[in-house]
Symmetry: D2
Subunit: 404 residues, 4 copies
């Protein structure tokens, strides 16, 4: 479908194009996004998506045969950072979560029919999708504890359950739903499966978009609560093998985490620039900018060092995944998940403080990000879970079995 | 007007009543407040205000001759904490910012006519007011740098200027506006005056409620941007002496800061209880609550100690103000302003983390407070300003003149 | 022995005298202490002790009938702080750890004979003592896990075991030794007893003074490793009832912790003053002192606030102990133990950084304290243990049983 | 002298050899070093140096023509880390500070005669040297403010001044002394020169080894205070051009800083391993190791991530120096200087806490390092100076001129 894409340019050229796209097409949309929400920018964002295609930036993470650029993860990292500088960047290039993860598992596990029906329109950017795993009744740190069930009835699965934080479900064409299909399996990690559920399937009910940190959200920028009430889909909608739900979720989460971290670096850089810009231009008294204050200077230095450390760690993890697969990079992935999240929180918080009252308003991106990305410490494994993973690996050679 | 108030009970009894008021009248309103905003709870809140009067909790900070309880600040502190446990608590007792500060300066500086016209309905809870000092073009850390002017024309002042973060201006009957009346005065601290401006005065324009941390706000819960365009008020609306605007602002800010700190302790206690409650009830696996995790336990211990330290510091500052006046307590006030703000931020952030995904939603008070109280580090003097004040006082005996 | 002590003056007067004692008698000894060690100042320190007696500052923590001033703990706190400003202050007044704790348990549990033989010379300052509880083989956080035994043989106890961190054993006349006397008791908290062991008893061997943070120590300033090898003492040396060893240790530790915290406040104040003095006098360039740097100013402000918070917490804990006993103040004691230790570490570390290279040398008290007081986070319950205690008490009302 | 060195093996092989050297030759010496000091291990250390030569690890940082391995800085980094795991590692391979810096400036600026007389025996490991720049009267953050003078008299320079923290002066054959030779030069950065001063020159007086953090030090492990009293050396001892003293000092400091950082990574790794080992083996109760505590696990995870970040940053800086020179890497060097110093302090402090009372003793390397490396935040530019450097570079594009 994307055979017209230009031959892949080098990464530096891609970064230049991505920078242009963000500056020219997306930054002008940000004030409207902040004031009036996602739907208000959607028409112009569609135009920006067309421009992204022309620039050869469409689904850059995918192999060429699926319309992508065949970038390694380490090559994709700086591109993702460049796009992450705007809340609209990754969406413009159709490499936004949660679709990017769904594309990957459909590519890896989808049947031909599933690819045709679910993946193809996703790759073309005609539809969006969501992923429904988390349940309000169960702690995310225990991924095998789940109540949603999918029971076989004739040619169908009948799903019942309660999900939430299904990001971007509002407006999505389908959900990938994790449900218990084999409750009696002796191995708790083999009890769940992933099932493709169109959002217009009978019994699929989006209860609400959950208001999160002051934003009820809409369309792509939203997190839904979902009820599955005798929701019926054909057995052919089983994605991957039965009982492989947990394994596929893990397969999806590993790269998903690094995708978030890459994006966070972009946010950090933009917030850092805003900080410097504000410190230089805000006058405490005529001729005496905020940047003349040593405490502000040291915040800037500390942020600079933290962002630099974070970027190097993300690149290092990406290279390891490229070479040895995401399973071999579990240590690196868990380290960046909590380390970069801390960087993000600190950089944004100091950017806000440097902006003073303005930083508190929704007139800049800082409040938007500080609220939307507070979740960085929670989703895809809370900081505490990843620290435990790292400790587990560090202590194993000493004969200690750290339980997650 | 409040001669029917019961004889003042002791503080323990007041705290009991305040606790009842919060639990019975206000907590039930909180879900509606969170979901539908301030106006949606206003009718019931008026009923709660009547109940507060019956309980003898009305304007408790004021002397009995003005309808209050004649509490010292140190006596008011635990009451303020008890009320601060709900976002509606202080409002229910008519001792909410910014009205409480305006009451104080009207009592201290108002003419009989001003007291009759502006103060009396405020004390009766019939109207609300706001305070318009901050300007978007000037850093708050330099309070003598201001552009708004009030020029005499005949019997009037004509005001022109641009203010923002005038909290609760939406729905207020009048504003206390700080404006330059004597631009040529050699002492920059004597150039401004405070002027009472009805919000329906010609030329007073509330441009918007500023969206702050995801909340555009409404009515009492709002922060307005205001334009004064040839806004005309009688000279008789000058509050206090001409040129005393800075002095009155300082007089208002000193106790204002401790009022915020008292309230923050209440927020911390409520968030702390929510943390313990959640940690105890959230199951990581059947029979294994979150509270069994040592990291959570230590967060709880650290929060307990920080809150305890904060409360003791606030009480100590209150006692010093009671005995020697707020000017003599500048050191104590500056210390609590940044120390308690840090406590608040840390306690709320950990409460959110313990609540996991739920903590991110607007279904609990935690997101509300974490967003609304981020401003604690900025308003009434940013943390950095108060640290400089403390350093200035510490270094003075050593012959060092720290400039603010 | 202390019938000649003057009638007890008020606390302000005591503080004045203590300040004089420290400034005139003790500060002049500090350079020698730092350069040549404790024994080098001992003769002059004995003179200072005589002066302390004359000033009515001797054993101020004790009731008048035992030669003390009958101060409440809350009255003693500021005195202890004043004395804590010098490493020699508490010793000069014979209220130094570990003797102060031994005095207390001898007063509470000693037989007449024990009081005559062990306590009386201690109160007169003729001898010193030590406390031998900790064992290198067992974690201090599990106080009932202990290997040292005391077995009855005829009229004697025969002790065997290995102790360390017996502070001030070098030069002590006797040790209070905790040993298992009833290994089969079903209650592990009833297995140990406290036994008075003269250091010249056969089989009592001080192996070495343990080098701690660069200081092998000597005499009072030392921490010994001790072997008990068939060490024989009369049964009459049992202190308190058999099996009460754990209870007596706890009784000793509670107030012991607050004694340390009081002293730390004194150290913090002195280090804070040194910081201001250095910042004011150290020139970065001619006429531009270090104190002109905003980062230094903010350290000073943060230290000021932390010390203030710590002092208030210590006083609050002292008042609670005075009113309700140390058992009722477990929460407050555990909170100050870790909170004030953090304050101490932070204040000292920043004082060192402000002093630059000089701060690293042993030419000032800062290195001495930073090294000697690193133990604050470890002894009498590590920070982690006290945090667990606080969490245990906070979570109990929610039905959670936190295990220590 | 080094023509017999084996052909340079690859870095992995060098690391293997360095690991062997440390484990087999140096770790066994550490207990003696800790208990009895540097001189006590010197004979065995000389043997270890011979072994290092045999292993082809001698002066590995130097080009082959000077007896080194011709390693790039990025190749040297992991080797330096491997050697840094022991306090004796870099010394054993003759690549220890301050000699390594003196070798570099002698190579770059020495005359043939200077190389023959001063450099050659240094390269052979027959002598040691020191660097005398810092003066107690002047803040290190202002490197052009200096009192030591060198005045021409006939064929000699006559030096007068007061230096301190001349590391390893005790036992050194010569010092590189920075002194003002051109006090009237209009450019303050051109007033000083570097002069080679044999320690037996008349008027060169080592006043004392400064006791630093509890250690008076001796021989290589020492920091001297030095008086130059009409100290006379031939003009031929001028190192580099007259007036180039500041430039040479900077040239020496840039790589010097990264050498320290590399070494610190080695310390961190060793301390981290000790932490895991202790956590795994220390029993809180029978069968329940310290490593089962979640707080300890999270410390381990946080240390792991910080060390990883630090190593990546150091490697990144080394690569940049290799490619573009140390001047082009000022940003990277300043960032690692304060970031890695923080890592070091945190990792060591937690290692001590995990070791409990044992961690406080001088029986392990932890106390040694924690005391000796506190200086990491001070020497070669305090943290605060490097933060200002980073801020200066970040704010320059915004038109702000941050003064150092």
């Amino acid at each position: 479908m994307t055979t017209t894409a230009p031959a892949r340019p080098d990464v530096a050229e891609l970064l230049r194009r991505a920078g242009d796209l963000v500056r020219r097409e997306l930054e002008p949309l940000e004030p409207t996004l902040l004031q009036r929400g996602f739907r208000a920018v959607l028409p112009q964002l569609q135009a920006a998506r067309r421009r992204a295609r022309e620039l050869g930036l469409w689904t850059p993470h995918l192999p060429p045969e699926h319309g992508g650029l065949g970038l390694s993860l380490a090559e994709f990292a700086p591109l993702s950072e460049a796009l992450g500088r705007s809340p609209l960047g990754l969406y413009a290039c159709n490499c936004q979560a949660p679709d990017v993860g769904n594309m990957e598992i459909l590519l890896a596990h989808g049947t031909d029919e599933q690819r045709e029906r679910f993946l193809a329109p996703l790759l073309r950017g005609e539809v969006r999708s969501c992923f429904a795993m988390t349940e309000p009744e169960h702690a995310g740190s225990n991924p095998v504890w789940m109540s949603t069930t999918a029971v076989e009835e004739g040619d169908d699965f009948v799903l019942n359950g309660h999900k939430w934080f299904a990001s971007s479900a509002d407006g999505a064409a389908f959900a990938v739903v994790m449900a218990i299909t084999d409750p009696e399996h002796e191995n708790p990690y083999r009890r769940a499966s992933q099932i493709l559920v169109p959002t217009d399937a009978p019994g699929f009910r989006r209860v609400r978009n959950i208001p999160v940190m002051g934003d009820v959200g809409e369309d792509y920028f939203s997190h839904a609560e979902i009820l599955l009430e005798d929701c019926r889909v054909p057995k052919a909608n089983l994605l991957g093998a039965r009982g492989e739900g947990f394994a596929i979720a893990q397969e999806r989460l590993g790269p998903g985490r690094i995708h978030h971290c890459m994006r966070w670096i972009g946010i950090c850089e933009r917030a850092f620039e805003m900080t410097c810009e504000r410190a230089a231009s805000r006058q405490l008294a005529p001729g005496k900018p905020l940047a003349s204050r040593q405490v502000i200077q040291h915040w800037i230095a500390e942020s600079r060092a933290r962002i630099h450390a974070s970027r190097l760690m993300v690149l290092d993890a990406a290279r390891r995944i490229d070479r040895r697969g995401s399973r071999a990079a579990r240590l690196e992935i868990s380290m960046i998940k909590f380390f970069v999240a801390d960087t993000l929180t600190q950089v944004l918080d100091r950017a806000i403080q440097v902006h003073g009252a303005l930083g508190l308003t929704d007139d800049t991106l800082l409040s938007f990000w500080s609220r939307h990305e507070r979740a960085a410490h929670v989703y895809d494994g809370a900081d505490e879970v990843h620290k435990t993973v790292v400790a587990r690996m560090a202590l194993k050679p000493y004969g200690v079995d750290v339980r997650l």
